[in-house]
Symmetry: C2
Subunit: 395 residues, 2 copies
């Protein structure tokens, strides 16, 4: 179903995409302001189903490339994203008739909407990840064999690059990352060039609608009479893996990535007095108290990340692995917390959401499974289905 | 005057360009073999004067980008250079009618000739340096205001990049260098896109002819009855700054460059018995003995380099500064020695050749003078004129 993005949708998408970002995909703060400004000036942003795109229509996916730690303080310019789109369109030599999202997770959900507001092009409801991932080859377009070339990169100064030929998507990552670093650590990315037929074949459908659903679940938790974390769990079908306080963050911005690990410690009285949990739910049903059942104050959760949260362990036991989504939200408000915002003392809930089926094939796991990131672990699927194809939970 | 490159010319150009390379521009060994193969298969390579190019003709300069230390062992592929040209031509959307040399110094003199052999396009007799320099902004096209975008880069695997918009030539260097490093440390470079009018306005004329002249002077020294170093000095109008043995080389390949310094020590009996010098010249007139006049065994020469030799000091006193050419050749054979070939024990002659006048304007010195490389020194011009515009010394 086609829909127009409202101002309220922007908040819901930004929040839901933040959850799907699993720590990465960038902080939506700046993109949200930019997009709202366009909408207030009268721009219309249309989200269209993948099946509404003609097979031979031409377009591209867009987003930002770089470390989230850079993206929070390096301002993009107004025409950076659209400049990347136009560079690819000029190279293709045919006008584009749609845009796609390169990564629904985090700020990258908003970038195609900004480009859409500036160009009038519709945005396909979907993306090739259903989450965020740190490297370019890690998406269903690349896994499915769509050519990574041409791709375009543009920085805030207007420097623009079109990579016209590439051996494979790993070379796209290698060369694109080097260019992004030279551009100061963040850049607008147009990748890949797509026909409508390719969109329909490879895209994970409905992820803008999913992001909006997850965002609404948090924003409307009060109205639904639920703790925000519980509301998010119900809408996403996710599992509450841990609740605790950040006791250690080891984070380095290196090689164009934010890499490191995070340690949480359960604090039994953590949220006992949280009004939402206490006031609206019978004792023992709050997600917080459930997560703490049987726990001592010393239980620990350790999460490893490379822009995104990739592996979660509780007391040394692996409880979630990429490509399943390890989402970290504020334990009281259920607002997502990105890699770049982690700091000592935050009280967080760790939620596991099942990955889209397209990411769990053997071919996909070779690119986005734990071993692709250097962990000597097999993928251990969560007992939770991908929520993207489920009907919206009634508010 | 137009001329066709013969097999003998290839050797003379490679040798002369090696001298003009001032240590950089890459080792011509592989390029020479590649070009000779084309000529033996019947390819014709035409060198044409700049003034023979129509004002509105379109073409580009080509060469290799990267550290000479990488270039000696990383094999280029057959179509790497021509691929970079074709990528730029495709972006321009108009067929090219000429090629230009991006850097006459070192292997980069041969690369346009290889592309010419493969495309049939003529090569303009000239280049924008009259030597070699380590960075992209350091040429008369860039100093004169020719746009650095579009530029193209292509690696041995076929990965190809077109940088379509650039703030300035410094950004070309920054982004181009990052891409080159990601491509493994060496890449074929098409830069800049040129009209015939721009060629005529900015190119340093006749540098292919000059390279051939310098090469012939060395190759034909015997026939001219001269020591090869003396023959080179006469043809180039250069000054013999030092003769000595390498006692220390400090060289690192870092940030895509070969950086470091070189120390030579005069050895008074160094070449006393060199047959060419002793046999054919009156005592006291050999360049070797002249350079040693008044020297003790302890005299030292120190040379700093960043791909190219940039500053020469003798006993702590600065004797030559960029953009004047500091050329290092084997003290017996006058064969040029590149940065990547420096090693303990080599016996070398250091020759200073006056830079082309276009590099000595205030605007040019801001880009290629000592301060542009971080040295707290003003340019100290050698008492030697640029030899490019002088008639060939009779053989």
């Amino acid at each position: 179903m086609e829909w127009l993005v409202t101002e309220a949708d922007v908040d819901a998408i930004a929040l839901g995409a933040g959850v799907l970002g699993t720590g990465g995909g960038g902080n939506p703060y700046l993109g949200r302001l930019h997009l709202l400004q366009h909408l207030r000036l009268g721009a219309a942003v249309r989200i269209i189903p993948a099946d509404a795109v003609d097979d031979d229509a031409l377009g591209c996916a867009v987003g930002g490339m770089g470390a989230p730690t850079v993206g929070i303080e390096k301002l993009p310019t107004k025409h950076q994203m659209v400049g990347a789109v136009r560079a690819l369109e000029a190279h293709a030599g045919r006008p584009f008739s749609f845009l796609a999202c390169g990564e629904i997770g985090g700020a990258n959900s908003l970038q195609p909407l900004i480009a859409a507001a500036q160009t009038g092009l519709p945005v396909v409801d979907g993306d090739p990840m259903g989450r965020a991932f740190p490297e370019l080859q890690m998406d269903t377009f690349m896994i499915g064999g769509v050519s990574p070339a041409p791709l375009s990169l543009r920085d805030a100064h207007g420097n623009t690059v079109v990579v016209t030929e590439l051996v494979d998507a790993f070379w796209a990552e290698r060369i694109g990352r080097a260019i992004t670093i030279a551009m100061g650590g963040s850049a607008a990315l147009g990748l890949p060039l797509l026909t409508g037929a390719q969109v329909k074949q490879h895209i994970i459908r409905g992820t803008y609608t999913l992001a909006r659903r997850l965002g609404r679940a948090v924003l409307e938790a009060d109205r639904r009479g639920l703790h925000p974390v519980e509301s998010l769990l119900r809408e996403s079908g996710g599992l509450l893996l841990f609740v605790g306080k950040v006791v250690d963050v080891d984070r380095r911005t290196t090689g164009g990535f934010a890499r490191g690990s995070l340690r949480l410690e359960a604090v039994s009285h953590d949220l006992a007095g949280a009004p939402a949990a206490g006031a609206r739910q019978p004792a023992g049903e709050s997600p917080v108290s459930r997560a703490h059942e049987g726990s001592t104050g010393g239980r620990q959760c350790e999460i490893e990340f490379q822009n995104e949260f990739l592996i979660a362990r509780v007391d040394g036991r692996v409880v979630a692995t990429t490509p399943d989504l390890i989402c970290i939200v504020d334990a009281e408000t259920a607002r997502p917390v990105g890699t770049e915002m982690l700091r000592y003392g935050l009280r967080l809930a760790v939620i596991g959401i099942g990955a889209p089926p397209q990411l769990k094939t053997p071919r996909a796991l070779a690119v986005v499974g734990p071993r692709a990131f250097g962990y000597d672990l097999d993928f251990q699927p969560l007992a939770a289905a991908w929520p993207g194809t489920q009907p919206e939970v009634a508010g």
